[in-house]
């Protein structure tokens, strides 16, 4: 007579976290060796991360101090990307602007993923709460991301924390809808029923049976959230609803250049190029992960609203 084993034991026998991490780093390295686009994207992100951490020490000038004598200079060996209308070095401001983009992008992604996934996992097992939550989610998703974020920021005031909050609201709603769909279909699957039948408690089913199966969807969606949040932050700063003008952000540097288009093309050009390449790298990594994890997912995931 066959004995029924708890499928969860399989997960307990999985190698320890450090070994798994090393394994996935190795796999990423091998994938990047084969795939030049992936190698490019990962390099871009690593450079971006490096700049986000060290840009203030790398900056050769005081990027917040104005220098009216040297205003609106074109690119030269002294000022690689030229200077802006206040004589501030555009290269220094652009690399320092990396900080804000990565900070906002990473925070929104982490906050929305953690809240979205945990709330959905718990709530989807309580019918009434679930249907109430889904109506709220539908309501939030009816607004275009930037519009809702703009309105929120005009209410709670522009600051880095508030930008993260405003962008996390819609990102979380999107996550909840995505994860809920996956959880609902898994809940009906045979192996979850089997786990229930042998008496595995619900929290354990959620953690060890449901969660591992939605990780790939979550990771792929997280890359799109990251790209969307970086773009959204730049858009908000561009519209003047982001950080104060003296704090460099790619969005507000581009906005500055907009007013000096005839003589200061370089002001907007370079931060926009940084922004585009960063978002491109994130999107390409997302595509690549999706193809590696599950070719069937191709084209199925909805990406965040584009601006």
């Amino acid at each position: 007579m066959a004995t029924i084993t708890d499928p969860a034991t399989e997960w307990e026998l999985a190698p320890p976290m450090s070994a798994r991490l090393r394994g996935s780093l190795g796999a990423t390295y091998r994938a990047a060796r084969r795939d030049k686009v992936l190698a490019f994207s990962i390099t871009v992100l690593l450079i971006g991360l490096f700049l986000a951490f060290f840009a203030p020490t790398l900056a050769r000038t005081d990027y917040e101090r104005t220098d009216p004598v040297n205003r609106l200079l074109g690119p030269s060996t002294d000022h690689w990307f030229g200077t802006d209308n206040w004589g501030r070095d555009v290269f220094d401001r652009t690399i320092v602007g990396t900080r804000l983009s990565f900070l906002v992008g990473a925070s929104v992604t982490v906050v929305s993923t953690v809240i979205g996934v945990s709330v959905t996992l718990v709530i989807s097992y309580f019918r009434l709460l679930d249907s109430i939550l889904m109506r709220v989610v539908d309501g939030f998703l009816a607004f275009p991301t930037i519009l809702l974020a703009l309105a929120l920021i005009s209410l709670i005031g522009p600051s880095v924390g508030n930008i993260i909050i405003a962008l996390s609201v819609t990102a979380t709603a999107g996550k909840i809808r995505l994860v809920r769909g996956a959880v609902l279909s898994l809940r009906e699957s045979t192996y979850v029923e089997a786990a229930k039948a042998v008496g595995v408690p619900v929290p354990r089913i959620l953690m060890f049976h449901v969660l591992p199966n939605i990780v790939s969807i979550i990771i792929v969606q997280a890359t799109f959230t990251l790209a969307g949040a970086i773009l959204a932050e730049a858009s908000l700063s561009f519209l003047g609803a982001g950080v104060p003008e003296y704090v460099p952000s790619w969005g507000n540097i581009i906005a500055t250049g907009q007013g000096y288009m005839q003589v200061g093309f370089h002001i907007s050009f370079f931060p926009g190029l940084f922004l585009t390449i960063t978002v491109l790298a994130v999107v390409l990594i997302g595509d690549s992960i999706r193809d590696h994890l599950d070719p069937k997912l191709r084209g199925r995931l909805k990406t965040t609203a584009h601006s």
Binding site: R135, F238, L239, G299, S307
Partner: protein, 313 residues
Amino acid sequence: MLRYITQRVLVSIPVIFMVGIITFTLVYIGPGDPAAIIAGDEATPEILERIRHDLGFDRPFLVQMGEWFLNLLRGDLGTSYFSGREITFLITPRLQPTLSLGFQVVVLSTIIGISAGMLAAWKAGTRLDKNLMVLAVLGFATPGFWLAFLTIWVFAVNLGWFPVIGYKPLSAGLIPHFHSMFLPVMVNSILASAFISRITRSAMLEVLREDYIRTARAKGASEFSVFLRHAFRPSAIPVVTVIGASIAALATGFVLTETIFAIPGLGRMLVDAIVRRDYPIIQALLMVVATVLIGVNLIVDILYAYIDPRIRY
């Protein structure tokens, strides 16, 4: 079909209601004091108190929200703090630029996106396909406001083919209107069609793997007919979804585009209202835009049933 449509409409109503609750609550709990905004900097506490009382801000939350909903149903979107005029009245002249921009972009991006996606699927694996998809990914990652900046710099500042800014209404004539809208329409269409072409390509490729496509080829249908008659319609579902989604993305794009190109539409109105902290206008515009998008989703849902007769709930 009629039953399906009725059911879809009924499902949309609670969403609109929820949008209203969110919109009203956000502004209600927000720290801005409307009385202080109306009265200006030199108001005494007594004046502030009187304004609050006159406008009904001292009543309970649910009473205020109920009244706001009733007014919405009567088509009254409220009164602007800044100009003291009815918002319905302020919105009307703003509709034409935004609707014209939206219509042109949706038509153009659908045509470009679907044809590029089908071409890529047809030539799948070739250099043409790869180049088209590189363009699509680029269009996907490029921020609209930066692309707008680049096109203005090239075509308006340097070549002088188009005005840098300056919107001409339809009443100024069809040609001047299209001329003044050319750059904003192009920028938004390029970005939206990147999105549509990616989805069209993958949807087509998925359908082309189906057995009945092999059957169609086996019975001698021409490649042209296989593509347009057999494969296109089944792959239209994800494409219609994505066109719906790109209309939502356009609502965001318009805020930026209208600001850059100085087009006096709804997006521009929202940015102005945010600068002036004119909360009733922000509320009204959020409500209007969300309702329009819910309507778009409704149409997409109904189109599903039209495209795919199997869909019946």
